[in-house]
Amino acid sequence: MTRRRGRTPWWQPLVVLVALIGLWYAAAASYARQELAFLVPYPHLVLRAMVADPTFTPQLLRNLGNSTVVALTGLVIAIAIGVAWAVLMAQARWIERSLYPYAVILQCIPILALVPLIGALFGYEFASRVIVTVMISIFPMVSNTLFGLQSVDRAQRELFALQGASTWTVLTKLRFPAALPSLFVGLRTAAGLSVIGAIVGDQFFQRGTPGLGVLIQVSTSRLNGPGTFAAILTASLLGVAVFLLFGWLRTLVVGRWSDAA
């Protein structure tokens, strides 16, 4: 069977959504009969908690704001360090060989194992949340940017060499622009991870300005089913929004000339 490439008709995902909501109602009804409504609350109650519950919604929005700030702060730091790290490694083979293993090791560390230490060292507030976010989201920035910087072909580099171009000129006029499509791939992945980092950070660092992760825990412990689901859904939407935002940014910056999707 051949698949037609192009835009998915808008109604197809919608059919799935309707089916899923239908299943959700069925499950909620079944749990309600067992008097366990807080485990799977009705969708309309969740929606109400998200947008129209006078006691819950303001708190949800406040925590959403806090998580967004943590995710974006972490992401900006991950971008800055990640790109600088990649640019440094792209300068010479021996620098890459010396530094790349640490990027991999950072990626391999189970962050959760480090969390108690991070809390003890940096407190149980904003700073620790951001550090966790940076650690979770930095690797795709490093690896994709490095890949992009090294994707420049030899003839293009020689074109610059023949004019006696400096390392800096080659970086700014050739290698960095050439790396942008790949950098954006890393950016989109890192952005998604930064939301995860912000929520994970909340699970352990509950002081200061609490985010969605804290709200999920608090709601769960109070058997507030609609609140739990509302916070989880909001966190998911934040992830989707960030993913779409960076996809759109990519199209804006490199979509005109780059073939890569």
């Binding site: 003839a155 293009q156 020689e158 074109l159 023949l162 006696g164 171009a165 000339w257």
Partner: protein, 258 residues
Amino acid sequence: MPVAPSAAAPTAAVTTSLLEFSDVEMTFPDGTVALRGVDLTVGRGEFVTVVGPSGCGKSTLLRIASGLEHASAGTATLRTDRIGYVFQDATLLPWRSVKANVELLAELNGVGRAERARKAAAAIELVGLGGFERHLPKQLSGGMRMRASLARSLTLDPELFLFDEPFGALDEITRERLNDELLRLFVQRQFAGLFITHSVSEAVYLSTKVVVMSGRPGGIVRTFDVPFPLPRDPDIRFTAEFADLVGHVSHALREGHA
């Protein structure tokens, strides 16, 4: 019968050589000998084409000429710093428009904005890309990309033009048309040209001199002077004399390969 004064000697004798190879040898770090005993001169108003089997070091020859690599033995003398280098691929920067691509080399050499734009506009006009200034490389055909690449080199106003199989990836018709335009440029500007190609007929059509190289290690087997006058009529390709010369070059190529 009076002896003709030397001033009336054919122009080839009085050309100043811009590129001179003397006993050039190239051995790569892994021990492969790519070139051996190469003597070659290219002067103003000369268009020298090098044909040879794949891997015979043709490209290495060009890389040494341009200074991208250095000969391991012998001397390569360059008497100009205005060198145009046309790569196998167009090597355009995909994020730059045709105009910005053509301006690149001048930009790298610190030429001011207005002067850059003027040079680029003239070069774009010269290669027949007028009207495509704002197009991106991916919106152009292979032939048009090559024209843009050619225009980019022209902004340097090169005295020595080096071509590394620039039209190898193009279809026959586009290749022939670009050959004609290159010849027109050559007649107009009288630069010194060193052109690498696989195609014997392209070599004969373009050049004032065809150099045949042998397989590894690459050395010059034979040199043919091309007697056809410039500017050349494209129909010269269908004459018996042209076919004869193509035949001779092909023979030499085959012998060198054996």
